[in-house]
């Protein structure tokens, strides 16, 4: 078994118009910049994929990564918890002009909805957002005298994530807090594409240290020295 894909281009080639795509990361930490840029490059060259629904904690920063994808108007809708950043102009402008839809979800509910999608749990109850605008229209149920909001799972056609090391079976480790949403998104997508700094032989990752077991990963692509969104933005980078 070898889930390695030879190039970034090949890795994102299957993502089609209208797909729901989960993109890992929290701000720039754990954001798969090279995979996002490969997707943007394909769109710039071919006009596809478009009309994407993107799931991410944020809405991008500056003009690279997720912000650059939004700037190209590849996304029809964004599902996120916090569409603010040091430089959120790209999303803000499109949102205020009604050109992109926003589904705002509390961060813990977002994480749990993704986890539920991966775990085959179609709905769950949470105290979060009870009595607020973000629970409007959702079923409420009382357990042990306390009201809870029913939330639905979130699943995707694709997840694109950034990991640290990966073996050819798709077992992954992450670097520090770059873990964040990445392991959850791996579980909730029909096809998960991971960029990793290093692809190793099965057996070279300690079975105790595996964070994402390979069953959740369909494709791996090596990006030896991945770019960091924060560093790119401080340098004023733009993509393309």
């Amino acid at each position: 078994m070898d889930k390695t894909v030879p190039s970034l281009v090949a890795a994102v080639s299957g993502i089609g118009d209208g797909a729901t795509v989960m993109i890992g990361g929290f701000g720039g930490s754990g954001a798969p910049i090279e995979l996002i840029h490969a997707l943007i490059d394909r769109f710039v060259a071919t006009g596809h994929p478009k009309d994407l629904t993107i799931v991410n904690n944020n809405a991008g920063n500056g003009h690279v990564g997720l912000a650059a994808l939004i700037e190209q108007r590849m996304a029809r809708k964004l599902i996120c918890s916090f569409p603010r950043s040091a430089d959120p102009r790209v999303f803000t402008d499109l949102y205020l002009s009604g050109e992109i839809e926003l589904e705002l979800v509390p961060q813990g509910t977002l994480a749990e909805r993704i986890r539920a999608g991966g775990a085959g749990i179609p709905a769950f109850y949470t105290p979060t957002a009870y009595g607020t605008d973000l629970a409007a229209g959702k079923p409420i149920e009382v357990f042990d005298g306390r009201p809870y909001v029913q939330e639905r799972w979130l699943r995707a056609d694709f997840a694109i994530v950034k990991a640290h090391r990966g073996d050819r079976h798709g077992n992954l480790t992450y670097n520090k807090a770059a873990r964040n949403f990445n392991p959850l998104m791996c579980t909730a997508a029909a096809t998960t594409i991971a960029q990793v700094s290093e692809i190793v032989a099965p057996g070279e990752i300690d079975p105790e240290a595996v964070v994402t077991p390979g069953i959740f990963v369909q494709a791996l692509v090596a990006v030896a020295d991945p770019q960091q969104e924060e560093v790119l933005n401080r340098a004023g980078a733009r993509h393309p």
Partner: protein
């Protein structure tokens, strides 16, 4: 001439339908035998409920590590590329539809795909383990079983009379006499022992099976 397949032969037949690289859970007991009969050149990744992916052969007697066991509490080893995880993550794999195949034993399988394999009804101590999760998780749920009970009663039935493990979950049954798919609430015969007539097989089956144009011979090696 073969009158019925041995358990090893049933397990062999089921193993032929498992692709290279498939993620597979084998029920405890008889289904565990399937792992021994993977065709040359194929290597499935076996999952066990208690938190291992890609476990391997049993260790040599005396070299057991009792922290490294499968769901049947038998000692196992690891293959390269193995991973450990906790029980909730393990059943996220199951319930979330990430396993390609689960192969389970059965007391009864009904033509609507219902499975009964966890309880013989009143009396005794009930025990379910992971069976009810597996039948609603894996992309394909197959059963391996004798075609009839020890007393000759059909195990493939119109409706299960024993307590259900799952509703409309089984899609293929490998028996000691035949390979039968479940499609649209009906048994469909795919393979049968060449020594057995359709009428003889039907007489041993508790619900009418459909006979498509092509029914292959169920041919397995002698062990």
């Amino acid at each position: 001439m073969t009158t019925k397949l041995s358990n090893a032969q049933i397990a062999w037949r089921a193993a032929q339908d498992i692709d290279d690289g498939a993620y597979v859970n084998l029920g405890i007991g008889f289904p565990e035998m399937v792992a021994q009969y993977q065709p040359p050149g194929r290597q499935a990744v076996f999952h066990t409920e208690n938190g291992i992916l890609n476990f391997g052969e049993p260790p040599i007697a005396g070299e057991e590590d009792w922290d490294l066991i499968n769901a049947g509490k038998k000692a196992v080893t690891l293959n390269p590329g193995a991973a450990f995880f906790h029980h909730a993550d393990s059943f996220a794999m199951v319930r979330g539809g990430h396993l390609d195949v689960a192969i389970l034993g059965a007391y009864q399988v009904a033509e609507n795909g219902d499975l009964a394999n966890w309880s013989i009804g009143a009396g005794g101590v009930p025990a379910v383990g992971g069976a009810m999760d597996l039948v609603h998780g894996a992309k394909r749920v197959a059963v391996i079983t004798e075609h009839v009970t020890k007393t000759g009663a059909p195990k493939l039935v119109k409706r299960c009379t024993l307590p259900l493990t799952g509703v409309a979950c089984v899609t293929r049954v490998y028996t000691s006499l035949a390979v039968i798919d479940i499609e649209n609430g009906r048994f469909v015969l795919r393979e049968k022992l060449p020594s057995l007539s359709l009428e003889e097989l039907q007489a041993l089956t508790g619900a009418e099976f459909l006979v498509p144009d092509t029914v292959a011979d169920l041919v397995v090696p002698e062990f």
